[in-house]
């Protein structure tokens, strides 16, 4: 059997794949955070809870209404996005004029509330959700066994990330979003409806988190607290990459997922902390983040 650093190659490659899967989630979530922060000046602590909601809605759709995975892939982000619209309109809108600290506190409270409500109905033990039959099983590539569903998650996430990049960098709507991020009052003066743009940005960002939740449902246990540790890692990813650039977020997210995967192979004790250690090092060497600009 082929070995690398005395670790069997298939084990290494499967951890690499797992790292890429995690990295894809980091990338999608940090993209959403960046879009929301750009326009709303709010760090959405509830992003992890929205990811959890995406997975929960997927599970509930299957359980109660028999909605299959492919339909959920479209429906769940829409449901989460619609919930996001309500949150932005009712809760976040009154806070824009205040210190950004309040936005963080509010979304923190919202996270506790959402997790508590789901927990009171479903407990903390994970709910099972199986992958659609088209994606079950594995493909033998000769040098490793590739689980189909994980490969699908990586490919789908990359497509989503590049679609977001295209939307923001190459379309008219994206131009509005970037203009609003750069200078909201000036954008409004040119006749763009900035409040609607903000609502859209929030719904879009949390919708992305919901989509990540759908993708995660068959891999991880669906449970109310699944987002709360993830969001902290995503915060670290955002600090490492800086929120200035879309490509930067995608690359940082994937790279950190892979590094985390490799740490699991070579030094498992540190796998839960490696991202934070990297963050500390980046802060020492390049405080603005790898792709960020100090404002």
């Amino acid at each position: 059997m082929t070995e690398l650093f005395s670790i069997p190659l298939p084990a290494l490659l499967s951890q690499l794949l797992l790292g890429l899967v995690n990295g894809s989630f980091y990338a999608i979530l940090s993209l959403g955070l960046a879009v929301i922060f750009g326009l709303l000046n709010v760090i959405n602590f509830a992003h992890g809870a929205m990811y959890m909601m995406g997975a929960m809605v997927t599970w509930m759709g299957m359980q109660y209404f028999g909605i299959n995975y492919w339909a959920s892939l479209v429906l769940a982000p829409l449901v989460v996005g619609a919930f996001g619209i309500a949150v932005e309109r009712v809760l976040l809108r009154p806070l824009y004029k205040l210190d950004h600290l309040y936005g963080l506190l509010l979304t923190f409270g919202l996270t506790l509330l959402l997790e508590g409500v789901f927990r009171s109905f479903y407990g903390v033990s994970g709910l099972q959700y199986s992958a659609p039959e088209q994606l079950t099983g594995a493909t033998n590539l000769g040098f490793m066994i590739l689980p189909n569903y994980r490969a699908w998650v990586v490919v789908a996430s990359l497509v989503v990330c590049f679609a977001v990049w295209y939307l923001i960098e190459r379309t008219k709507l994206g131009a509005y979003l970037r203009a609003g991020t750069e200078n909201a009052p000036l954008t409004a003066a040119f006749g763009v409806n900035v409040p609607v743009l903000r609502t859209f940005a929030y719904a879009f960002g949390v919708g992305l988190a919901g989509l990540a939740g759908v993708l995660a449902a068959p891999i991880y246990q669906v449970q109310p607290l699944m987002g709360s540790n993830l969001i902290i890692v995503v915060f670290a990813v955002v600090v490492i990459g800086g929120m200035g650039s879309i490509m930067g977020s995608i690359v940082t997210g994937l790279a950190l997922g892979v590094i985390e995967g490799f740490t699991k192979v070579f030094y498992p004790e540190a796998s839960s902390t490696v991202v934070f250690v990297i963050m500390a090092i980046v802060l020492l060497l390049r405080p603005a983040g790898l792709f960020g600009k100090e404002k």
Partner: protein
């Protein structure tokens, strides 16, 4: 010497505190409240007077408790020595972490504190001296100046003394020229910089002071309960202390104390409240409220941020001032 209005209120509160055991209050509960009140006051130094929102105060609170607990139990240090270890451990953790976090300001600051708190949490989970999931059990209370602290009442007055000292230290800091600079940083950091203050150094010092006092509070809690747990070091405990300060009133001296009383009491009583609501409304779901405290805390968070940002003490002060001003105008 004529006492200021502030100090007259403090003395009245102290008198109540000293009399509480005689009035039939359960000393361990009041001591727990006092530990959280000191913790919240330390936290308020940062969020209320410097405008920095940190999510890792639990790491100082719980982390220092581990170090002090280890010193008391394994090294056999006397009680005061253990408290000193807790204070210094909190301060040093604060120095190391603060050095990293003040490199970024504003929104990134909070995110960095959260990430580093998580890192420390995993460290405490795996480190050999913390007892992992079980926590550090049976930490001895010891004795101070020949007085045995194993009796709850003796310990109670000792904890009151620690609390008063900690509170006076914070009062001193807030009302010093240094405290004024912190407030200037909170109000307008670029302007404070342009006036020639090295804001990073002021923020770091505030951080260290706040962390050291949080460490003292955590150590005191370990003395009271006899153990140090992982829960105390988790960021959800930071959320709890943020809530205490928010409910009581950010940037007021007495707010965090009021907030600590309200939140600790609520945590203890939420099951009863749920049972009562279930009886009154007939909705069975409320029965389970005791197990999902986070619903209640989350709800309070949202309501406070939206409609009650000054907190209980802040609102009371505002009301008092509104009533005084028209009287003066006449």
């Amino acid at each position: 010497m004529k006492l200021s209005a502030d100090f007259r209120v403090y003395l009245a509160l102290l008198a109540v505190l000293l009399a509480l055991p005689a009035l039939g209050a359960y000393p361990v509960f009041v001591m727990k409240v006092l530990c959280f009140a000191l913790f919240a006051c330390a936290f308020n130094l940062l969020i209320g007077f410097t405008g920095l929102l940190s999510f890792w105060h639990a790491a100082f609170f719980g982390g220092a408790a581990y170090f002090a607990g280890h010193a008391l139990k394994v090294w056999g240090l006397p009680t005061l020595g253990g408290l000193a270890v807790g204070l210094v451990a909190g301060g040093l953790l604060g120095l190391a972490m603060g050095y990293l976090a003040i490199r970024r300001s504003g929104i990134y600051f909070s995110m960095i504190t959260l990430a580093l708190a998580q890192m420390l949490y995993f460290f405490f989970l795996q480190a050999p001296f913390t007892g992992g999931e079980d926590g550090l059990q049976s930490v001895p209370r010891g004795s101070v100046a020949g007085i045995d602290l194993t009796s709850d009442l003796a310990l109670y007055y000792f904890v009151v003394a620690i609390f008063v000292l900690g509170f006076l230290a914070i009062h001193r800091v807030v009302h010093s020229p240094f405290g004024q600079v912190l407030k200037a940083i909170r109000e307008n950091e670029p302007r404070a910089t342009s006036l020639g203050y090295s804001t990073a150094r002021f923020k770091l010092l505030a951080f260290v002071l706040s962390a050291a006092l949080a460490g003292l509070a955590g150590t005191t809690k370990t003395l009271v309960l006899g153990f140090a747990t992982l829960t105390d070091a988790h960021w959800s405990t930071s959320g709890l202390v943020i809530l205490m300060v928010l409910v009581g009133g950010m940037g007021t001296m007495l707010g965090p104390i009021v907030g600590a009383v309200v939140i600790v009491a609520l945590e203890n009583k939420v099951g009863d409240i749920g049972a009562w609501l279930s009886r009154v409304t007939g909705i069975e779901w409320f029965q389970g409220l005791g197990e999902s405290v986070t619903i209640v805390t989350g709800l309070i968070f949202v309501v406070c941020v939206l409609a009650f940002r000054r907190g209980i003490v802040g609102e009371a002060l505002a009301l008092w001032q509104r009533r005084r001003l028209p009287a003066r105008a006449n």
